[in-house]
């Protein structure tokens, strides 16, 4: 047990390059650490691009699996983060295309996965009016994001829900940074205008 714990610590301290090399050689602990580092990011991308919870679970798992199976194809070009996000985005697109779904973000965040930001605010804030305003703003943003064209929605999601930088978004979507900026400007403009109109 102590050996395992020591090994876990060692793996946790490895650089990403070393982890990739070890995982490529079939090292399960290294593969696990790689997924651990990026799992929340993958989840956020899928959760905000896919409408159904069961799709989110399936696509997150498929993203993990595909990333591990295709590690040899990564070859260190760019960041692993952008690469795994690219896999997630492509799988989300496939899933939406197959289901012919118009993507949407639920108006109310489901509770089963844990407290959402508004629930956390409710727990902290004694001001119900403020909580109601924030709830309204959240619904508004989700609705506006849902209405964005697909590429703008992807860029907005990666920037604001997955916290990726412009260059990482460009790498993940396979476009140049200028294209990302253009899409992001349009998306931000639209969402911000809606927020300011509702909450001046």
């Amino acid at each position: 047990m102590a050996t395992l714990a020591r090994r876990d610590r060692q793996v946790g301290e490895e650089t990403e390059g070393a982890l990739l090399a070890a995982a490529l050689g079939g090292d399960r602990a290294a593969a696990q650490e790689l997924l651990l580092r990026h799992q929340l990011l993958v989840y956020r991308v899928c959760r905000n691009l896919l409408p159904r919870d069961q799709d989110v679970e399936a696509v997150v798992q498929e993203t993990f699996l595909r990333a591990l199976k295709k590690l040899h194809a990564f070859a260190g070009a760019g960041s692993f983060q952008s690469w795994i996000v690219a896999i997630a985005v492509n799988l989300c697109r496939d899933r939406l295309r197959r289901r012919r779904l118009v993507p949407f973000v639920p108006l109310e965040t489901p509770d089963e996965d844990g407290p959402d930001p508004i629930s956390r605010l409710e727990a902290r804030s004694p001001d119900p009016e403020r909580v109601a305003m924030v709830r309204q703003a959240a619904s508004l943003v989700r609705r506006e994001v849902q209405r964005l064209p697909s590429r703008q929605r992807e860029v907005f999601t990666l920037r604001f829900f997955a916290d990726l930088g412009l260059e990482d978004i460009a790498a993940a979507l396979g476009v140049d940074v200028g294209t990302v900026k253009t899409h992001l400007h349009r998306a931000v403009h639209r969402v911000r205008a809606a927020v300011e109109e509702a909450m001046p």
Binding site: Q39, L40, T109, A138, R142
Partner: protein, 149 residues
């Protein structure tokens, strides 16, 4: 420092994470109104973020992927392989039935006797069609005049 507030275009660039011109950036850094507009947007976006899953949920998904990667569990979605195998076997059934059906055995003795009889009566007719024989060996006197070489 400029007293002019950020335009919508400049605010969108700021929110998108782009660098602003120095003068605009200096204004944005100290202007309460511009900060308020920025905070208003970012607050609404933060509230709209999906809930984070529990650690156990992510761990379960991660472990499932790792098991499938290392071949620890049977691959899923292989039902179609089983269905294809069943269909293949069903398609083979008529062939197998035909192969296994009892066939009337040929009586070799009878066949040999018939061939012998035919050859004994007219060996050429037994080997070639009658029209061919008529061409090569006409029924007239030529037949006796020379052999067929």
């Amino acid at each position: 420092m400029s007293e002019r507030h950020l335009t919508d275009e400049e605010l969108d660039r700021w929110l998108s994470g782009e660098e602003l011109d120095q003068e605009v950036a200096e204004h944005a850094a100290t202007c309460l109104l511009c900060w308020h507009r920025r905070a208003n947007f970012l607050g609404a976006v933060a509230a709209a973020r999906a809930a984070e899953p529990e650690a156990a949920t992510l761990e379960r998904w991660r472990e499932t992927a790792l098991e499938r990667w290392s071949g620890g569990s049977a691959p899923r979605h292989r039902w179609w392989l089983a269905a294809a195998a069943v269909l293949f076997l069903v398609a083979l059934l008529p062939v197998v039935a035909h192969l296994r059906a009892p066939r009337a055995d040929l009586d070799a003795e009878t066949v040999v006797q018939e061939v012998d009889t035919l050859l004994a009566s007219d060996p050429l007719t037994a080997l070639a069609p009658e029209e061919l024989l008529e061409t090569v060996v006409p029924a007239g006197g030529n037949a006796t005049g020379g052999g067929v070489s």
